[in-house]
Symmetry: C2
Subunit: 296 residues, 2 copies
């Protein structure tokens, strides 16, 4: 079998991005960490880490990182079944891919309900988060895709409801005579990043045309809300994040009859299934509190 | 001179990440965009774009992208001086590097005060945001570094004050007998990402030792606050984001006499200076509202 002290060293380097930080985290010297990686590379017959700021895994290093996490999860299950309680320092890390708006609206309570893990969150767009699972770089993902991932199970979570919103001053300046396709074509909008299709999807739905208004780029869920409140542009914001601001008039809904619902699914690696059972239950419970529950 | 329609096509591709989205944004067909890039690559004698998801610039493409943005900024100044008012569709894009906690606390009002730009925000750690400016990939940056960047001017903004905070339940579980180095070594903490040194810096200050407690990784300013409120771990949170929660007892300050202050500086490219004058004023004014102003 492999040397798991060596694998732990590899995982710590890839998680912290450097040999020095990994050494500190494991209570070792940098040279001890280097020796472990060198020995593991010789054992496997491949380079595992590309040194840099941060250090990056080679494909072989990525595959071993995944293996180290899977084994740590299995060991945690063993500890539970045998009645042995691991101290927090040995709590396994669990890498998850979550979309930023889920983190901003409903996901934190699910994590907090299960203290069996140290969470290692990767943020990506809901249309792309399942790719992390497909590539084996995370153990579970919140995704808008219902398409099964090989070796993974999937549960429907509900729909995150978005409304196109803007400040009253912005409405007055850009939509003085109502929200028309002509004005939607020129009023500045907000876009989270190049993967964010919500604004263009909503525009296609309500304007029936392929509009590309000028846009600001603002890669933060709360920054998006703050930018909308400040009048930078209109943007698709989760109803739960802007409900209060809409109720007290700080924000206006562009077309109240036209929300955009994004279905979300919880995908998890079957090999990690037993270890993830309580987290899956917590994720479903937290989603039920916030997401719209009828099927799309 | 270069063909600026070709340069606009390049900038749109690198901003949106794809030929198709760039075509839509400029109201062109995909094949027209491809032809422009091909012509520009022939003119320059170098490949400019590596196709992919998203499309990435080559070094030559990156340099031309920067040039296109600089020219757009100069043209905007020309429009102002000649009394011609550009419509919003021709508003120049301005790429800025900002740390996530600045975006979450004080930066949005500065952007909203100046509507001469479409903002294109890059988020990076305050210790690394100036690198974007050094590499010529942004026109200005909010950074913790006072070190001058070549070709750039710099102004001190003030200090963002952080407190180590945790939920009352977390305090009871992990610090029942007070906050001691022994408990700080094992109580789980939060870390934004591998670049985030705030927790370890604070630990070195208060514990006088190089502690590496187990950590969750949570790359979002508000996620960090929510994770702290939910009891996942303790974390360094900006005073302005957690003041209310501390006041009403939902959060506890670990060692009230030991804040951590991060000095922030506004660096901007001198060549973009005239175009950025009003933004620099707005940035200084917004910083004064939130940041601690006495010199460190």
């Amino acid at each position: 079998m492999l040397d798991y002290d060596q694998l732990s060293a590899l995982a710590a380097i890839l998680r912290t991005g450097s040999f020095e930080k990994a050494a500190r985290q494991l209570g070792l010297t940098s040279s001890a960490i280097s020796q472990r990686i060198k020995a593991l590379e010789e054992r496997v017959g491949a380079v595992l880490v590309v040194r840099g700021q941060p250090c990056q895994p080679t494909p072989a290093g990525q595959r071993l990182f995944r293996h180290a996490e899977e084994v740590a999860l299995l060991e945690a299950g063993l500890g539970r079944d045998l009645g042995a309680f691991a101290d927090m320092a040995r709590t396994p890390s669990l890498r998850l891919a979550v979309n930023a708006d889920s983190l901003a609206t409903w996901f934190v309570p699910a994590m907090a309900a299960v203290d069996a893990f140290l969470y290692d969150l990767v943020l990506d767009d809901q249309d792309h988060s399942a790719d992390w699972l497909r590539r084996g770089e995370v153990r579970a993902a919140v995704s808008s895709s219902s398409q099964p991932v090989q070796g993974c199970d999937c549960r429907y979570l509900g729909r995150l409801r978005y409304f196109a919103t803007a400040s009253p001053a912005f409405m007055e300046r850009w939509f003085p005579d109502g929200v028309t396709p002509e004005r939607l074509a020129i009023a500045p909008t907000l876009t989270f990043n190049a993967k964010d299709m919500l604004q263009s999807r909503w525009l296609a739905l309500v304007a029936g045309a392929d509009l590309s208004p000028p846009t600001h780029w603002l890669p933060s869920s709360h920054g998006f809300v703050d930018g909308t409140l400040a009048g930078l542009g209109w943007g698709m914001n989760p109803e739960i994040l802007v409900g209060d601001a809409v109720a007290d008039g700080r924000l206006v809904v562009l077309l109240p009859g036209h929300p955009l619902d994004v279905p979300l699914y919880w995908h998890w690696s079957r090999s990690a299934g037993p270890a993830l059972k309580s987290l899956t239950e917590a994720v479903l419970a937290a989603a039920r509190q916030v997401l719209v529950q009828d099927l799309p």
